[in-house]
Symmetry: C2
Subunit: 403 residues, 2 copies
């Protein structure tokens, strides 16, 4: 119970800061004694700080207020993707304190090797946080695959060549002990969360965020929260069927979106050969080659991207009919391809969602950059601190007697 | 604040009944004085009742307990569908107290006429409730169309021929004043809620409930709550595209599920002629004719239903990939057609959702019967009473001083 009450008070402080203890008692319904005890515990843990006096509306005389303390506790976000590793540190006040991306071709490398390199990045990030007086409370790693989050395992990350990898254990073994256990999540979910905290998601509220490089994924945000589904597999946009007579997919279906709008499918259709096994990002990668062709007005490249946009719009119209979001954000490779793909996406969306809604949802392009998922991973750590601050408390969880 | 606290206490009583005031203070964090005041108000409103003494675990001596009172307050659920009207009364203890279905061909009838007939049904239900000592706190009407719930209007119900109808106002004008304002919702959402309260949904938790007669809709339930989307239009399964080269749909798309798996499309493909304008339900309706053909092993009928099942499975695999539910419940016409349609649905589902999940979601057939949406409408009234009991209180909302 005390753990829940700590979270309630911390949440109200975050929403109303600066805020007096008397006001916190009013809005939570707790007694002032209870509020004072909870506030003291949160302050001892470095999660909030005492501000100067604020004028309290009801009583008219100044009272000491409290606010979130952005200078003591931080979250570490990590990302493994096909072409790079990333780390970032976010403080409790939501400020980015450290951001680091390293190009790396992770395809076919042993998971131990990849997580080892990620651990190096994590250690540097923790040191950079310490230099700024920040203690990292926890770490979350974004991975491009389906995860068994409860078991801390990657079930399958086909584009990395991983299957049943205990990524959480590998990571935890390489990191110093943190207050919150290390956790992992799908890159699509975390990129959507990054968009919510630092991109267009703040205005949208409910949206579908398209991500992916080789694969096509989506993170679905409903009322400011990532929607994960009953088993954590929601948002598998890449396996929505767009052409029942299309090519077979590894998932067992036929004509899945990924078969038309995944990066390899686009490159193949554009006539850019032999992409498997090469790093796709960077100035010499095949994505750069594709964009160069698009800029030159190459017919095959334009047609491939247009066809991908149509298929993406068709799959998104299913998502719109089922989820009814406020907007759609194109991230991943589609943010780079947006100038050529967006018109086809919009046309397919407009055609398929007309009668039910007044207008199709707003289509925007992510401006977050490559490490959106790392930002989202750090945001998830901060979310956890906010919803379960009790884990960061050093005191014994004794509840003061009430009368 | 008091309104929220009343709901918190009523919710805990519902979850833990019978429960003592001391235990309620423990679990809510409110003072005993606050709990006693809230409990007294809920009891005065007839929402809870005093039970005999229960043994209180912590202190070891018996205390008076309180429980939900099922004998004072009820919810009225109403339904307008293409072929029938329905009403039902549910008490706060979730028992069905009254259930009434009347066949009626509502196609092309003026909304005033239809709502007038529904009001007669509602009055009889209210009288039947009163005979059992129950006061109806509110009414919700289920409608087959897209609704502007905030404005109390039906935007479009194509199979009734309605467009921009103030159904809420029409209904409220015909009913005696109730504590909660009359409300309306989509039949797909409410049938899914009915399934949650009285069907297989209780076990599933998160599921997609397929409904519809002429149209095809879905109600999506996530963790025991109906998912409505940002504007109330979620679950438009009928407009998921299953064949981009298929026939045009009224929504502006092509090859929407409804064009293949809607009742009229199935009847047409089965060679059952001239269905527009005739009542589809009942022993002489075309659905009965279709089922007779299926029982006789008619090739065209079997092929039409199999094709509808394939298309439904394909659209559902999109829903499964995006929502990741625990199960799927076939309601509406698909519960009657399930013996012939289910194998095709299962095959399409299994093919399209294999690699991501261990197993495809469980497919079940609704056993609720035709008035699932009316049951769900009554359940929605009870949900509202539970989440906002303050509206049923007669006392002035004065908050006791705390110190």
């Amino acid at each position: 119970m005390r753990a829940r009450n700590l979270a309630v008070v911390l949440g109200e402080i975050s929403r109303r800061q600066p805020v007096s203890r008397a006001r916190l008692a009013d809005v939570t319904g707790f007694t002032k004694t209870t509020v004072s005890s909870l506030v003291a515990a949160l302050k001892d843990a470095g999660l909030i700080r005492e501000d100067g006096p604020v004028r309290d509306g009801e009583r008219g005389r100044p009272a000491t207020a409290v606010s979130i303390n952005g200078d003591r506790v931080a979250g570490l976000g990590l990302e493994v993707n096909v072409d790079y590793l990333a780390a970032c540190v976010l403080d409790l006040g939501r400020r980015i304190r450290h951001r680091h991306i390293v190009a790396a071709d992770n395809r076919g490398r042993a998971p131990e090797q990849v997580i080892g390199a990620l651990t190096d990045l994590a250690e540097r990030a923790i040191a950079a946080a310490a230099d700024q007086g920040l203690t990292v409370a926890g770490a979350v790693v974004a991975l491009p695959g389906t995860l068994d989050r409860a078991g801390g395992r990657v079930r399958t990350a086909p584009n990395l060549g991983w299957r049943d990898v205990a990524a959480g254990d590998l990571l935890a073994a390489g990191l110093p002990p943190l207050a919150l256990p290390a956790d992992q999540d799908n890159e699509a979910n975390l990129a959507a969360l990054g968009e919510l905290w630092f991109g267009d998601g703040r205005e949208l509220g409910s949206y579908v965020h398209v991500s992916g490089e080789i694969g096509v994924g989506a993170g679905i945000v409903v009322d400011g929260r990532v929607f994960r589904g009953a088993h954590g597999f929601a948002g598998e946009l890449g396996h929505v069927v767009v052409d029942p007579a299309g090519p077979p997919c590894a998932c067992g279906g036929r004509g899945c979106l990924e078969q038309v709008a995944g990066q390899e499918a686009i490159l193949r259709a554009a006539g850019i050969p032999d992409v498997t096994g090469t790093s796709t990002a960077g100035p010499d990668g095949p994505l750069a080659a594709l964009i160069a062709l698009l800029r030159d007005g190459d017919e095959a490249a334009l047609a491939a991207v247009r066809r991908a946009g149509e298929a993406l719009g068709q799959a998104l119209s299913a998502a719109v009919n089922l989820f009814d979001p406020d907007g759609i954000v194109l991230g991943g490779i589609f943010s780079a391809l947006a100038p050529w793909a967006s018109p086809a996406v919009e046309e397919a969306l407009g055609g398929g969602t007309g009668v039910v809604r007044h207008t199709p949802p707003r289509l925007t392009v992510s401006r977050l950059g490559g490490d959106a998922a790392a930002l989202g991973a750090a945001a998830l750590v901060i979310e956890r601190v906010m919803t379960d601050p009790a884990r960061l408390l050093t005191e014994a969880p004794v509840r003061p007697r009430e009368r």
